[in-house]
Each structure stands twice: as structure tokens, then as C-alpha cells.
Amino acid sequence: MSDRDWNDPRLEEALPPVADDGGPRPPRLPARIEDIPAHAPIDDTCFLGARKMPTPIGLPEAVQRIKNWIRARSLWVMAYGTGCGSIELRPLATARYDMERFGIVMRPTPRQSNVLIVSGYLAVKSLKRVVRSYEQMPSPKWLVGLGSCTINGGMYWDSYNTINRLDLYLPVDIYIAGCMPRPEALLAGFDRLMKLIDRGEANGWHHYLENLDWYKANQRKLFDDGDMPDYNW
């Protein structure tokens, strides 16, 4: 691996067609309620920008805000360490960086969790299981991409078995960059996620439901042995 050519031009050759804002993006959705905008990635910095979803018809704004406020103060994370980034989750749970003071606890089953942390690289085999776990979680749910491997492949960018961009297969609400990010960075990320939930802007789950075909097409291209995970609503 030491003879890897870092300026290999083939890396730029076979990229999928680039959209005008710089990346493959989900299709524009036909608006069922007119002012629901498309979920557009803004730029390549840490956070996936999201536009606020309007409140559903019939529920006053105040109720929605109370609901979001409570959801943000009680985040249950699924205790699933998908990659090496999850060693930073253990110090986060112990006495020094105590995440329980924010109401964040680890739950062992996807049925009882709200946040799935994809901590690090995802082999194709793990991605299939992560997709299945994500679909088993009840909505509203959030996905945190931890580490550089979820952003652009990180250390394993040239591995035949790991994916390079997580948001082609699952909707990511927040990325936390680093390899791997320290617990303080994780707490900053959770703080930002809680603010996004308060404002009603973290709607990755909604985007997944609405653009299911696009996500499933990407997943099918990856799991091309035809063994797709059954959808678990």
C-alpha cells in the first residue's frame, strides 16, 4: 500500500455526474404541501444543512415546539458500535464527560432508541445491517455520522469493502468530523443536534421516507447480490 499513487487521475474520472451545486443529490420531490422544500445538501462542511419542515396541518406551532423541545432533551442512542469511532462513545458515557446529564442514554435495541450513531467506516456487510436497524427505529429518528469515514471515506478511502459517502444510503442529520473525534467534539455535535431538533430542522427521517426510491436505488447498487434488507417500518 505504500506505492499508492496519491494523484491518481482515475479517481476523478469515474465519478458520477456532478450536479450544479457539487454533488449527487436526491430528486426534487413533488410537493404535497406546497411549501415543503427539497432537502438540499448545502456544502461540504461538517453539517448537513436542512430546511425547516412546516408544521403539519392542524397542530398549532406551540405544540410542535413543545414536542421538539422534549424530544431534544431525551435522546436515546442505540448502543451499536459500527466502527472504531465507537471507542469514543465509552468515555462519553462515563464520569468525566458524562452525557447522561443531557438526557442521552444508551439503549440496547433499535425499537427503543432515537439516535443511531454510525461511528466510523461501514463495510458493505455492516451497511446492510445498519440500514435494517435504522428502519426498525420508530420515527422521528436521527442519524449522526461520526468520523471522517462517513464523510468522505477517511482512512479507508481506497478500500474495496467500505463505503465512502454515508448520505447516499441513509439520511444523515449531523456529521462530526475527526478520526476519531474526541468526546468534547462529540458533545459539541450533540449540542448542535439538540439545537437543530429544537428548531425543527433535523428531518432526515422524513427525507428518507419521501425519497425512499432514491435511497433504495443506491443501496441496491451496492448490495448487488439481490439480497436487500426487507423494509421494517
Binding site: R4, D5, W6, N7, D8, R10, L11, E13, A14, L15, P16, V18, G22, G23, P24, D44, A123, V124, K125, K128, I151, N152, G153, W157, D158, S159, Y160, N161, T162, I163, N164, R165, L168, L222, F223, D224, D225, G226, D227
Partner: protein, 179 residues
Amino acid sequence: MKTILAELETRFGATGARFQRDDLASIDLPADRAVPAVTWLKEHTPFVQLNHMSVVDWIEDGQFQVTWLVTDPRGCRSIMVNTRIDRERATCDSVADLWPQAVTYEQEINEMFGIDFPGSPRMGVPFILEGWKDMPPMRRDFDTVKYVAEHHPHRPGRKHHDPRTYVGERFGEKGYLHD
């Protein structure tokens, strides 16, 4: 250990005995005598434990080198038993009946290099790769970069830097941030 290596030379026609360390020796064997030699080592010498099993791809010679690392746990010494097999028709005898853990090693080697071990229980059963249709990926003629460019798209805007020159450009000669 020298006596055991000498025995291997006389009994099985081994060649190239060399010592990498005081407790680690290496020896080469012809393909049809390799597994009998390993069996003899297990049955009649203190080298009873299979520590590791690995493969080296000598693509220039058109051969795979299969290595069994057998250990003497009481004497804390090891022998690397090497053999060369043909790259096109890659089969090798299995040691699964000697050590049960060899089944996993042989399964992995079968998946990553495409070497067949007739008689080993889990040949062809996928280990890490699911739905893999390409050539076995650890072979040196498998082009990882091309495969990644086709299957795992990068995020646009990605730049590549050679770490050796980049560190020098960013952080100066000393290689770390300094005033």
C-alpha cells in the same frame, strides 16, 4: 530447533532453512510435501500449535506462497513452513483435520485469494464479502483504486495530498506546528 529443521530436510526435501530470530525459523518445501511435513511437525515434535496461516502473492513468478506458522507453546519458538503453489490452478492440501481453527483461515484465504483447499468444510462460504462478484481482492492484479472509483463514489471536492510532501508544506521542515 536445528535438529528439527535438519530432519525436515532429510525426510521431506526441505530447503532454505534460515533463522529470522533465535526463536523464529523459516523453511521452504515442495508443494506436495508441505502438508505431510506440517503433519509430522504436529505429531512428532513439540510444534503442536497452528499460530497463523497466510499467503503471499508472487505475481512475477506466477506463484502463491502459502505459509503455516507452527508454534511450540512450551518452548516459545515457531517455524514458518512455506510452500509455493501455482497461481493459475491454485489448490493446496488442507490442514483442517489437524487443527479446527484452520477452517477459518482457509475460508478467508479462499475468499481473499481464491485458493481452493479441497476437503476444508467452508470453501466458497462468504466470510467478509457479501455478494462479491469480482476477482478475489487480495490478489495483486486486483485494482483497488479502479474498483473504488466505480463502486464507491467520493464526495466531490476531495483533494489528494501525498503525506510526505504535504506535511512539509503545511508545517515546515520540523513537521509540526511551531512559531
